[in-house]
């Protein structure tokens, strides 16, 4: 069942001549993990803003086409209503935490929605333990590492119990290990809560093996939408400004000598499995 439906969406920010998004159409089914990639400035962040109502309610500009999210028309639904269906996590963890303790940051949105105190307490406990950050409860966001801050940001959004989570380059301020840890955490909670996830990410090697689907954007348009392995097999990812994972390149090199891979592996595990299978057939 589609939970996001975008049809012929065009958008340009106020005062700009060119459209940032051009003729964007796609649907996302409930429970999908969609990876959105593309070079900087191709409109990924703008697309995210169109899905949770920041466009057109916070940013002015010309919006054409229809966007439906969780049964709501984004054009007619205020951001605070949409936020309870679509959670948004931004790039810079510093700028989405406002309070002096982790606990009050996670409670922030719920307090704004004037939920009863008992309910807030219950939900805060729940999301903190879900993300494994209960021990950070009384710490100040300033003292936390980037990875911890980003987990707090995710918790504060999850507390609203959205069915969809959109993340706009959540790892770009993190080191490689924290990034891996964060992507694994996202994948884990996605599975346990049955969330729909849209992840904008440059670290394709980390995200691609976990995603069901990849949407490739270039210059405000969707240039590919489908299976991640197929994209790397059939297209010259580089020419779309998309980094080709090392394991894909390695498989291509191997294929030049022995045709081992019918479709490119996206993770070292897949690579190893294929090699192992090949070796056991040979014996």
């Amino acid at each position: 069942m589609p939970i996001i439906e975008v049809s012929s969406l065009n958008y340009r920010y106020v005062g700009q001549r060119d459209y940032v998004l051009r003729d964007i159409s796609f649907t996302v089914n409930e429970g999908e993990f969609v990876l959105i990639v593309g070079p900087s400035g191709c409109g990924k962040s703008t697309l995210c803003r169109c899905l949770n109502g920041l466009i057109p309610h916070f940013y002015e500009g010309d919006l054409e086409g229809d966007v439906w999210v969780a049964g709501h028309s984004v054009r007619e639904t205020p951001t605070h209503v949409l936020s309870q269906h679509v959670g948004m996590v931004f790039q810079n963890p510093q700028n989405q935490l406002f309070s002096l303790s982790v606990e009050s940051d996670v409670a922030f949105a719920l307090e704004n929605l004037s939920l009863p105190r008992e309910e807030i307490r219950r939900r805060v406990d729940e999301v903190l333990s879900l993300l494994g950050i209960t021990e950070l409860r009384d710490r100040s966001p300033f003292e936390l590492s980037g990875g911890q801050q980003q987990k707090v940001a995710i918790a504060s959004v999850l507390a609203m119990r959205p069915r969809i989570i959109i993340m706009d380059e959540p790892t770009s301020f993190l080191d490689p290990i924290s990034s891996l840890n964060l992507i694994e955490t996202i994948d884990r909670i996605r599975k346990s809560l049955g969330l729909t996830v849209l992840l904008v990410e440059h670290r394709i090697e980390l995200a691609a093996p976990r995603a069901n689907r990849i949407i490739v954007m270039n210059d405000g348009q969707i240039v590919y939408d489908g299976n991640p392995a197929e994209f790397f097999e059939r297209y010259d990812a580089h020419s779309y400004g998309v980094y080709v994972p090392k394991v894909v390149r390695l498989a291509r090199e191997v294929n030049k000598h022995v045709r081992l891979f019918n479709k490119p592996p996206l993770s070292p595990e897949e690579f190893e499995e294929r090699v192992r299978m090949f070796a056991s057939h040979r014996v």
Binding site: L54, T79, F90, L110, S114, S156
Partner: protein, 266 residues
Amino acid sequence: MALSLFEGLRFKPGKSFVHKLDPRAKLLTSLLILITAFMYTDVVIISILLLLEYVLIRIAGVSGMWLKTLRGALPLAAIIFVITFFARMADKGVAFITFYESFAFAYRLVVFLSSFSLFFLTTTPEEIALTLTKLRIPYQYTFAFVSAIRFTPVLAEEMQSIMDAQRARGLELDKGGFLQRIRKMIPVLVPLLVNVLRRSYELAEAMEVKCFGVSKNRTYLKELRPTGKDYAFTAVVVVLFAMVVVARVFYIQPALHIFGLLGLLS
């Protein structure tokens, strides 16, 4: 020097009796100390006040910071002393009473400036925010206060890195006279300001997404729950203050009495 005056307004974490008091009780105490200092210029009363304050500060274990505030207040107190002295000299001449009154005014100023240290040194910013809310101050203002505290270290860090970057390009921030140094801060402050503006936009976006200002009756996860100790403490403070008021009504000025007995006022 001037900055050490504000040392007494920074929160020092602790677990003492004073730290655990309800912030409203501490706010009231600080306020009553201030009012008492307004009502009296008597050195004896002001000394008692300072002593009481010191006892509470000592219990909280933050006397170091408090003393710094007092020291920071000294230059201001000296100015008050001089001004008062010259003003009084006109009609009373250079007499013991002129010295005494000028001293009392300056002394009182020290109590003024340190009175709120008790509140600020022992109350977490979060408790201050809760207190503001309880005083029915609109949430927007409380939020502004909290985020100011939240982002101060972030901006300090940012400023440091801009300074480093500009130094690496040859800007000599530590050289030159006072005016020159101020002018050299421009290449630091402009990027800082630009960053702050950009950051504020991102913050506004995140606030929007987290439903800021949606409900008029915002709820709060944390609340202030006064205990028996808070009531007892407040009662003691109020009784002491009532005594001060009564003494004021009957015009009791211990210091002047003592001086009178010693024959210093003739």
